[in-house]
């Protein structure tokens, strides 16, 4: 477990300089030299880790405590009488939690699949093909990278409202709700992702040798087949990273659903959770239970794909 990031240099496409391999003995010698400082390091690292983890630990603990126990000092880090009541109450609080969980999963998964597909197609043409207008389109992508979606939330609200032939609209987009208050509205505007295109393109440029594509072409493969059967299998780490980033981002999205969704049955989990925090009648014990439930999928995904995740971040940070 020593150097988790260390072994990944090859896969990042950076040739390891000769003479780097025998670096181990040196670092060991250095380790001995700095021993006193190392204890300090551990002390600092552990102290910060405790501070970073404390809110989580409390959240988990509080989710097994009745509300009265939460209103007692000192805070109980280990519930004195652990109970599952909060979880039961969370699901029977008169809100359609099951539906919200489904909505969140459905919307987030659909966006993720669509983003991975559209972005990788575009990234492939940016990385491996020449065609008139490529550089212009790439510049456009970079410019979009700097355009926060919040700025577009107002016009997109209106555009969704006036999508023709949707949600009771006529051919001219009048008369109904368009894509507002529907899954469409939560999914469609969010499928384009400049960040994903950029990340995938950077990876493809270094991870997919041109010779391989040329060879496939000589064998008579069309571009879609090359993309699907040659490029994509070589880009699994990048694809995984994009998928995880996308999932994580849209799993927590609040502003979009807040603006687009009206009916409670179409709420996503983040929007739904805010209904437990109303003024001074905040149902803290239920929020804690709901939060634990909402963190679990993300934590599982993180643990399962930790390697790809870390690699994905390193790819986006370095030029890859």
């Amino acid at each position: 477990m020593g150097t988790v990031l260390g072994g990944e240099k090859h896969e990042l496409g950076q040739p390891v300089p000769a003479g780097l391999e025998p670096a181990r003995p040196r670092t060991q010698r250095r380790r001995r030299r700095f021993r006193p400082a190392r204890w300090m390091r551990y002390l600092i690292l552990i102290a910060i880790a405790i501070i970073f983890m404390a809110p989580f630990a409390y959240m988990v603990s509080a989710s097994f405590q009745p509300l009265e126990q939460m209103f007692r000092l000192p805070p109980s880090w280990i519930p004195p009488d652990p109970t599952l009541d909060n979880y039961v109450q969370f699901f029977t609080s008169g809100r359609n939690i099951g539906r919200w969980v489904f909505n969140s999963f459905y919307v987030t998964t659909t966006i993720t699949v669509a983003v991975v597909f559209t972005s990788s197609l575009i990234a492939y043409t940016f990385a491996k093909r020449t065609f008139p207008g490529r550089d212009f389109l790439f510049l456009l992508t970079l410019a979009t990278l700097m355009l926060p979606s919040e700025v577009l939330s107002i016009p997109n609200y209106l555009i969704l409202l006036h999508i023709p032939l949707m949600g009771g609209n006529d051919l001219y987009g009048q008369g109904g709700n368009g894509m507002l208050n529907s899954y469409w509205g939560l999914i469609v505007p969010n499928i384009g992702s400049a960040f994903s295109i950029f990340l995938l393109r950077q990876y493809m440029r270094s991870a997919v040798p041109d010779e391989l594509i040329d060879a496939a072409r000589i064998d008579g493969a069309g571009h879609f087949r090359i993309y699907w059967q040659v490029v994509m299998p070589l880009c699994r780490p990048a694809v995984a990273a994009v998928a995880i980033f996308t999932f994580q981002f849209w799993w927590q999205e609040l502003l979009g659903p807040l603006i687009i969704i009206d009916s409670a049955e179409l709420y996503t989990m983040p929007l739904g959770l805010t209904t437990f925090a109303l003024g001074n009648r905040t149902l803290w014990h239920l929020i804690m239970a709901g939060s634990v439930l909402m963190v679990i999928p993300i934590v599982i995904i993180f643990f399962v794909f930790q390697k790809q995740f870390v690699r994905g971040i390193s790819m986006s940070g370095l030029k890859g």
């Binding site: 690292l45 989580f56 492939y124 700097m146 469609v188 925090a277 939060s291 993300i298 870390v310």
Partner: protein, 291 residues
Amino acid sequence: MRREWTAYLFHAPGLILFAIFVVYALFTSFILSFQDWDLIGERTWVGLDNYREILQDGDFHEAIGHTAYFVIGTVVPSTILGLGLALLLNSQIRGLGLFRTAYYLPTITPLVIAALLWTWVYHADYGLANYYLQALGVIDEPVFWLSNRSTAMPAVIVMSIWQTAGFGMLVYLAGLQAIPQELYEAADVDGAGGWTRLWRITLPLLAPTTIFVLIINTVGAARNFTPIFVMTNGGPPGPGGATTTVVFYIYQNAFRYLRFGYASALAYAMFILLFGISYLQFRWYRKRVEV
């Protein structure tokens, strides 16, 4: 070359979405920014009135100030903390995976949950912050963190630093791994100490990483909405108060006061500001890193 057209075909889904939800959206809000509209009544042309109002709108200017406060207050400490953690972790530390997870967990936590959780941490009577700060003797009596004009923004900032530092740490860890060991060995031979190596080798070589982290963190912080919506609702004292950031102010004008025209003009103003900042950062980035 013969089959160039397939390249455009690959772009088609993305371009259609881009045309509708970016180009047409920018066009729509541009038109809207010269109009007055409450979503239900008639649209009326008001010329440059909305933009004139922006120049005189004290609340908006304050919102820019709050946003700058939040962005700088979050990004600088968060980046430094991320760098510090990465440097500490990058020396054959045992349990690296464990530490890394501990620092990164806040970053993968859905923002709504982070915000709700910290609202409880800051609870005046039963929150963890007041209890332990009093126990340690840092404060004498409970502080109303989120309902006090001077402490509300710092409180949100602390939450945000906690939430974003893990990202910087991971990127820096990757950056550190990319620095050739030979440089340090050469420095060893020259008898350079730890500080010299940090300032002369590590930090200069991490410059592209630093710029990247700064750009991502700045854009992320400037978009800040969820924590404000959940923790303070723009207050204290109420919406428009000490933690009203630009995005929150735009949201408020559009979807609470139904001033779609004015809100669109505000969004344009924010876009121009943010684009300018990102552009400068990005040029700085490109100068050092070939994209």
